[in-house]
């Protein structure tokens, strides 16, 4: 027994000579942001900001960190990153990239073509955020690399905070694949654009997707918040402001505390989806009046319900026009009404669905004053 143990230990030792999979941290050039574009020839262009280190010769080998912009072209995303790898000291490592930007040309095509190579690598950070830009990704990233303030995690934090305020759907590299491979669900991505006046990158709204590609339309942040409420997918904060009257000072801001949705699907000529949404809200800003009387509360509730129902109508018309089933009605049909689904299934099933939204607002609280 003892001899065997010793034998085993000794014979394992020579195995330890090679370190096949070693990838030293000090040699890697980690990526902050990557962007993907499609040029006229059908080649993909990858643009990345990498973190590079320069050991200065002078004071005690101190290290200065610089962010470098690198680009590479290739017939596929992988080939493009290989081109980058050859131009970078150390090795180009896109695994830690936290933000991915899709140029408009890429987004209008099948976006899975771009993402495929990422899914095949076990080391890729699947929590990366994805955004679409109204221009080429290269331009946005070039802009970011030049602007000192927006380096690094800026874009990630931007998208993250808009998710926190229920302005955007929470989508990561991981969850986007679920949508891409789901016949009954679509999604929306943050729609970035460069604001020429302020010279900074902003989120303009939510880009609507149908199947694997961008429809070209996008929702305003308010619309997307409403849509998220309909999906019961809002974050902890969902702040909305409505103009009660045409008068300038008649606005109210409220925070949606909780949502309950009733969904009824019926097959008539078309598939009718009656959605009844109950919102429990907290009034956070309402200068014109006070909520000390029940009538006032009732008025506010009715008025808000009216406005929101109207807005929801418009919203769903917009979705219908783009056939973007972000609400996941198709999945709802598959799961609970398979017979209806069988009749309408196909790529453009959303044509057959007519959404009839209704919103009911309940004021539950108004802060520490009435």
């Amino acid at each position: 027994m003892r001899k065997t143990e010793l034998f085993l230990i000794l014979s394992i030792l020579p195995l330890l000579a090679g370190c096949w999979d070693e990838r030293l941290l000090k040699n890697s050039r980690t990526v902050y942001i990557s962007g993907f574009d499609l040029d006229e020839n059908g080649d993909y262009q990858t643009t990345s900001i990498i973190r590079d280190m320069n050991i200065s010769e002078s004071s005690r080998g101190e290290i200065s960190i610089s962010n470098d912009l690198v680009t590479g072209k290739g017939g596929s995303i992988k080939e493009a990153s290989m081109t980058i790898d050859q131009s970078v000291p150390g090795y180009y490592d896109p695994a830690k990239g936290r933000t991915l930007i899709l140029g408009i040309d890429v987004a209008k095509g099948d976006i899975y073509n771009v993402l495929d190579s990422l899914y095949r690598d076990p080391r890729v950070d699947l929590n990366a955020k994805i955004a679409v830009t109204d221009n080429s990704a290269n331009e946005i990233i070039t802009h970011i690399s030049e602007n000192e303030v927006e380096k690094g995690e800026y874009l990630y934090e931007l998208i993250h905070s808009s998710e926190m305020y229920s302005k955007m759907q929470e989508i990561t590299l991981r969850s986007i694949r679920t949508y891409l491979f789901d016949e009954g669900k679509d999604f929306m991505l943050p729609y970035l654009s460069k604001d020429e006046e302020d010279n900074e990158v902003k989120i303009n709204g939510a880009a609507l997707f149908h199947d694997h590609s961008f429809t070209g339309q996008f929702l305003s942040p308010d619309e997307s918040t409403l849509l998220l409420l309909f999906m019961e997918a809002q974050s902890k904060k969902a702040l909305l402001t409505e103009q009660l009257d045409k008068k300038a000072d008649g606005s109210v801001s409220y925070n949606v505390k909780s949502v309950s949705r009733k969904l009824k699907l019926e097959k008539e000529e078309k598939v009718h989806a009656d959605i009844m949404l109950q919102l429990d809200v907290e009034i956070v800003d309402y200068p014109p009046n006070h909520l000390d009387k029940q009538e006032m509360i009732n008025f506010l509730e009715n008025r808000l319900s009216e406005i929101l129902t109207e807005k929801a109508d418009a919203l769903f018309k917009k979705l219908a026009a783009n056939q973007s089933d972000i609400l996941g009605l198709g999945r709802e049909l598959i799961a609970f009404h398979p017979s209806i689904w069988k009749e309408i299934k196909g790529e453009n099933y959303y044509e057959h669905i007519l959404v009839n939204p209704k919103v009911k607002v309940n004021v539950r609280s108004s802060g520490i004053i009435l």
Partner: protein, 496 residues
């Protein structure tokens, strides 16, 4: 030549007849062997003793004086020695002399002698042991005298079941060893095993507790100690009360406690003095620090050279910036650090305490920072090594903490080769090994292996003492009454 002489001596020892000449020649006419003739009451007595081992005062007042004044020839009644035994053979007589007895022989009747206890004791003051410090608790440590150690144990373990068994070990120089246990608590199987193993020791001489440990432990090819060595009498006594056996070696303040399981090494007397949740917390910290010390360097290597995508981005950046000018692989880097730390550790043991403090600062702080500044190691590596060594110092037992060092290097090597997978392989090997170890038949890694949740209450956590109403599986004979907090029931009252 020498062998021959030994042989002839051996035959002399075995000779049945007690003869002063024989004894003298067997002891090589050593010059501290003295004899004295005393004429008393028409009889000639010869007292034989080894000068250096005998308490002169005792000999004079307790033996010689009464012997001279003796009126009848009844030695057993007249002498003041506390222990008198008869010695009928040379062997017994010599052993007695070497233990500090004096041999009293009536001239003319060579066949019989008396052994009278006159040994000098060189007891030092009982003091707190340096190695096993505690915050609270008894400041009593064992000393070098066997009898005194038994005395120390008995005073805190008063029980009629306190049993002492004496053995004389060693074939050329002898050492007395005492086996101590509480009869009603200890598994007779274990006692039987211990006795058997002690009896089978045929070493020439016993140098220290380590010699006995080598001979009686179950497994020798293992970094894990299976016997607990302690210098604290309260620790030994607590272990006796848990149904373990203590082995005291004459001339050594180190007492062997057995059987010791893995968790035994994480208990300290402190745990039982502080309140139970505090004791449990500290014990948990110790266990945690053991694991940290074992795998932290390996984890560092795995993360930095294999899976850096698994650590948070901010950490990656800060590690990367200090790593980038280190010319070595993380494994080599850590090895350099570990080795220099071992050097520091070894060096500081030999230094007098006043210098050691300065040395620690120079060695630890100055060399550490200089190494980082010079780009030999990174800050990350430095932190890992420092944490590892601090964690290993947390261990209450020296031998257990050295097992970390022995196991740590292979784990680091595995991590440097296979990354995370290597650590898993290493840990699995350690677990398989641990699950097979036994200490005197008791599973070493209990209560984890075999899994026994009930035994957790005095191993991983320390539950309040009134809850330990049943001792662990190894001492099934004993049940503590469950009543210590019964007053709570009597005192409790309804709120209205």
């Amino acid at each position: 030549m020498r062998l021959k002489r030994n042989k002839s001596k051996k035959s002399l020892i075995d000779q049945a007849n007690l003869s002063i000449e024989n004894i003298k020649s067997q002891l090589n006419h050593t010059s501290d062997l003295k004899d004295r003739e005393i004429h008393s009451n028409n009889q000639i007595y010869i007292i034989l003793y080894i000068n250096s081992l005998v308490d002169q005062e005792k000999l004079e007042s307790k033996i010689i004086k009464p012997l001279i004044k003796m009126e009848n020839n009844n030695i057993l009644n007249e002498l003041y020695s506390q222990e008198i035994s008869t010695a009928k053979s040379n062997k017994i007589a010599i052993n007695g002399l070497l233990d500090g007895y004096c041999l009293l022989i009536k001239k003319g009747r060579n066949s019989e002698g008396f052994l009278l206890k006159t040994n000098a004791s060189t007891d030092r003051e009982v003091s707190e042991p340096i190695v096993e410090k505690t915050i609270l608790g008894a400041k009593v440590g064992f000393v070098e005298s066997l009898d005194k150690n038994i005395f120390l144990l008995r005073t805190v373990t008063k029980s009629p079941d306190f049993t002492v068994k004496k053995y004389t070990l060693g074939s050329s120089t002898t050492t007395n060893v005492s086996l101590i246990y509480l009869d009603h608590l200890t598994d007779p199987e274990i006692i039987k095993k211990v006795e058997q193993r002690i009896k089978s020791i045929t070493l020439d001489s016993i140098r220290s507790a380590g010699d006995i440990q080598d001979c009686i432990e179950d497994h020798t090819v293992t970094p894990f100690p299976q016997l607990l060595l302690t210098e604290r009498s309260d620790r030994a006594s607590a272990n006796l009360k848990d149904g373990r056996v203590a082995l005291i070696i004459d001339g050594s303040p180190t007492v062997i406690i057995l059987p010791a399981t893995f968790m035994t090494f994480f208990q300290t007397p402190d745990d039982y003095i502080t309140r139970w949740w505090l004791g449990s917390f500290f014990r948990f910290i110790r266990l945690f620090s053991y694991i940290i010390a074992l795998i932290l360097p390996a984890l560092y290597i795995a993360f930095v050279s294999f899976h850096y995508e698994a650590i948070p981005l901010e950490l990656v950046y800060s590690l990367q910036s200090s790593l980038s000018y280190v010319p070595f692989q993380p494994f080599i880097e850590l090895m350099i650090m570990q080795l220099s730390l071992e050097l520091l550790r070894e060096a500081s043991i030999r230094l007098p305490p006043s210098i050691a403090a300065t040395f620690g600062i120079v060695g630890g702080l100055v060399v550490g920072t200089a190494m980082v500044e010079a780009g030999i190691v990174s800050y990350g590596g430095l932190i890992v090594v420092a944490l590892t060594s601090v964690s290993s110092f947390v261990q209450p037992n020296l031998e257990m903490s050295s097992s970390i060092r022995i196991l740590g290097f292979p784990l680091m090597l595995l991590a440097a080769t296979f990354g995370f997978f290597g650590i898993v392989i290493g840990v699995l090997c350690v677990l398989i090994h641990l699950s097979r170890l036994t200490s005197f038949g008791v599973p070493y890694f209990s209560p984890f292996v075999p899994l026994n949740i009930k035994d957790f209450k005095d191993t991983i956590i320390r539950v309040p003492s009134w809850m330990m109403y049943k001792y662990s599986k190894n001492s099934p004979h004993y049940k503590q009454e469950k009543r210590s907090r019964k007053w709570k029931l009597d005192e409790s009252e309804e709120p209205y």
